[in-house]
């Protein structure tokens, strides 16, 4: 069935709330307003105000409330209107949710989900255009997923809600309106499993989140020039699907890592480390990374375009690792 990314997330929430009455949704504007991006459409009328809960503007507070509720056996889904606002709540995400099981000697699992849009949209400027996956993936105790398609959005969110660990779901603001085929029925995507979204044998493009759309566009364009690329969608950045990365690179012998965030200590650095450790003898060229410019996101449209990773930059990187002229 063809649905939008937004509706796919909505289906996931509805199905999991029907399946398990321990699941509840909490956040700013999630109930009466049905979510800033309408992801929770219809849920208040279906499940009532005890399970779809509007909060004051208090990210740290309701993230912590979710942790407390998880400790008495509930499975909270906490919506951040934007992961940029979640910075205020990181003490609860990092110091409480991610560490509670460990610090309680295994006594208190925190089966909860923190979700909301991450990364740049259009001209939202420096404070509202940031990709947070490398920050969050750094933390032992958290799992981090970055769905790029409606099918993955539904399948990963459902798996995240069922997981017994705190799971961070980084959605894409620019993805909510995108459409795609979502399998009927109880569609689950396992956490920690990458997916080859396009097959080729000349070079691997390894990416995640909304960069998958750029990578597929690049694959189409390169195909018209006779260059066939693997597009590997990590889907989950922690735990990382190392076998999927090494299988692709061993086949193509070349790799470009495409990531939305900054270069310094980014997800791409971890991928490159994995490749050099596991596939050193398979490589025919250094691995290159495509990422955001090392600046806060500019507000000016032309500067924003220049700062973001895009198809042209990715094509140039692929051709460079293939030693062909751009």
């Amino acid at each position: 069935m063809i649905v939008t990314y937004r509706d796919a997330l909505n289906q996931a929430l509805r199905e999991e709330m029907e399946r398990d009455d321990r699941v509840f949704l909490m956040g700013e504007e999630v109930a009466v307003y049905q979510g800033a991006y309408k992801v929770s459409k219809g849920l208040l009328s279906e499940f009532g105000e005890m399970r779809v809960v509007d909060t004051p503007i208090t990210e740290l507070g309701f993230a912590g409330v979710g942790v407390g509720a998880a400790m008495v056996g509930l499975r909270p889904v906490i919506e951040f209107m934007s992961w940029n606002f979640a910075l205020l709540a990181l003490d609860q995400v990092v110091n409480s949710a991610a560490k509670m099981l460990y610090m309680s000697g295994g006594q208190y699992p925190i089966p909860m989900v923190f979700r909301g849009p991450s990364g740049a949209a259009l001209q939202l400027a420096a404070q509202h255009s940031q990709a947070w996956e490398s920050w969050l993936a750094h933390i032992p105790g958290l799992k981090v997923v970055t769905p790029g398609t409606p099918a993955d959005a539904k399948g990963l969110l459902k798996s995240a809600i069922r997981d017994d660990n705190p799971v961070v779901v980084l959605e894409g603001e620019m993805l909510y309106n995108t459409k795609g085929d979502v399998p009927e029925g109880d569609h689950l995507v396992p956490l920690g499993a990458a997916e080859l979204k396009r097959e080729g044998d000349h070079c691997s493009i390894i990416t995640n989140g909304k960069m998958i759309l750029v990578a597929l566009q690049v694959a189409d364009q390169l195909a018209s020039e006779g260059i066939r690329v693997d597009v590997l969608d990590l889907r989950t950045v922690r735990p990382l699907d190392v076998p999927a990365i090494t299988a692709s690179v061993r086949k193509t012998n070349r790799a470009v890592v495409l990531e939305e965030g900054w270069e310094m200590a980014g997800i791409g650095a971890q991928i490159v480390d994995t490749i050099q450790r596991e596939c050193f003898d398979d490589l025919d060229a250094p691995v290159l990374r495509v990422h955001q410019a090392d600046t806060p996101m500019p507000y000016a449209k032309n500067l924003e375009r220049a700062a973001k990773p895009d198809a042209a930059k990715t094509i140039a990187a692929v051709k460079k690792v293939m030693y062909v002229a751009n």
């Binding site: 509840f24 005890m50 399970r51 809960v53 909060t55 004051p56 208090t58 740290l60 507070g61 309701f62 993230a63 912590g64 409330v65 979710g66 942790v67 407390g68 509720a69 998880a70 400790m71 008495v72 056996g73 509930l74 909270p76 205020l88 003490d91 609860q92 110091n95 409480s96 509670m100 099981l101 460990y102 610090m103 309680s104 000697g105 295994g106 006594q107 208190y108 699992p109 032992p140 105790g141 799992k143 997981d163 017994d164 660990n165 735990p239 990382l240 190392v242």
Partner: protein
């Protein structure tokens, strides 16, 4: 006049003067005819917990100096505040969300003393709360437990339970954003939470006067839509009565209460701190006179329920209790390399399994060896 003193709460009198029921000399504030909210037997049990706490403080501090305990925070001076509040709860249904300075409350609520010993010995098993004991683990991150308490109360209500949650924190923690966000949320959803603020005068070396310009901490509560009350935190009876009233109100659906328990830290913030650099000796002396344990002992002595031989017997029992707990803690096997990785996630990850193979752990020894 023998009006039950519990009817004084919620307190509508002077918002600044702390409520007191038991004077420093051990006499009842209301005079000989007033009825204390605890009977003599309850007071003896409370006193035993307070004395256990004091004895454990000495032991813990000494063990930290020997390198056998990690950084440790003593309760000294705050025993009435901790014990009086904990005794107002029902361990069979109510929850305690601690900070890190509430040992006797945790013991009364069902935590084995050896768990506490394991925790401060650095053993991972020390964080484990036995099944059926309604406690969250000790919280080191200042004020982070406040939103947890609201969530716990929310979750219990969602499950249809009539449980009440009491959360401990200090005057320093009240300056964190967590305090504001937790109080505001609790007020909005009328969560059955008691915010129990132990104003012990100090946040490490930062004095109470640098935490807020407000006359009292309790006065902030009306801003969140619920009541605040100031009690003499070195008065077991006042703390107990105020907390009982708050528990009953929360259980009846009346929402949260903020209790400011005015007490005084008679020792260091923790074993890494040296308060002689910032607390004047004469100030300490004035608080030593108001020692919460002495106050209860004076009252019970006047009732003929306390004397030197009873005190000696209690001390002996307490020593034996502590020694038995240390023996039980010593019997727990030391942590292994697997314990290093266990419980990071609900399951061991592939990355952790690889690192576990790569790590070489020294031969087993004590957690703090």
């Amino acid at each position: 006049m023998s009006t039950p003193v519990i009817s004084q709460f919620p307190y509508r009198g002077d918002p600044v003067a702390p409520v007191r029921l038991l004077e420093v000399d051990g006499t009842l504030t209301g005079g000989g005819g007033s009825v204390p909210p605890m009977d003599d037997e309850q007071m003896l049990s409370a006193l035993w917990l307070m004395m256990l706490s004091r004895a454990f403080d000495d032991k813990g501090t000494s063990l930290q100096r020997q390198g056998r305990f990690g950084t440790f925070s003593a309760v000294r001076g705050q025993e009435a505040s901790v014990v009086g509040s904990a005794l107002a709860l029902d361990p069979a249904r109510d929850w305690i969300v601690p900070q890190y300075r509430e040992l006797p409350a945790l013991v009364n609520h069902g935590l084995p003393l050896e768990s506490f010993i394991l925790y401060f010995s650095g053993h991972p098993a020390g964080g484990y709360i036995p099944e059926g004991v309604r406690l969250l683990p000790i919280q080191i991150s200042i004020a982070a437990q406040l939103p947890h308490a609201v969530g716990l109360a929310w979750g219990l209500r969602l499950q249809g339970l009539d449980a009440v949650v009491l959360v401990y924190f200090g005057d320093g923690a009240s300056s964190e954003g967590d305090f504001h966000e937790a109080c505001n949320l609790a007020g909005v959803v009328k969560a059955p939470v008691i915010f129990f603020l132990q104003n012990n005068g100090w946040a490490i070396s930062t004095p109470r006067s640098r935490q807020t310009a407000a006359r009292t901490f309790a006065e902030r509560a009306p801003g969140y839509g619920f009541d605040g009350v100031v009690v003499d935190g070195n008065d077991l009876l006042a703390v107990y009565a105020a907390t009982r009233a708050a528990v009953e109100r929360a259980r009846a659906g009346g929402g949260p209460t903020l209790i400011e328990s005015q007490t005084y830290r008679l020792g260091a913030h923790n074993t890494a701190d040296d308060p002689t650099r910032y607390v004047a000796e004469e100030v300490l002396d004035s608080w030593r006179d108001r020692d919460p344990i002495l106050r209860v002992q004076r009252y019970l002595a006047a009732c003929g329920r306390w004397n030197e031989s009873i005190a000696a017997k209690a001390q002996e029992e307490i020593s034996q209790t502590i020694d038995a707990a240390f023996a039980a803690a010593r019997a727990v096997a030391p942590p292994t390399a697997e314990d290093l990785f266990l419980h990071t996630y609900a399951e061991l990850t592939e990355r952790q399994a690889r690192q576990l193979r790569e790590y070489e752990m020294p031969a087993t020894g004590p957690a703090n060896g």
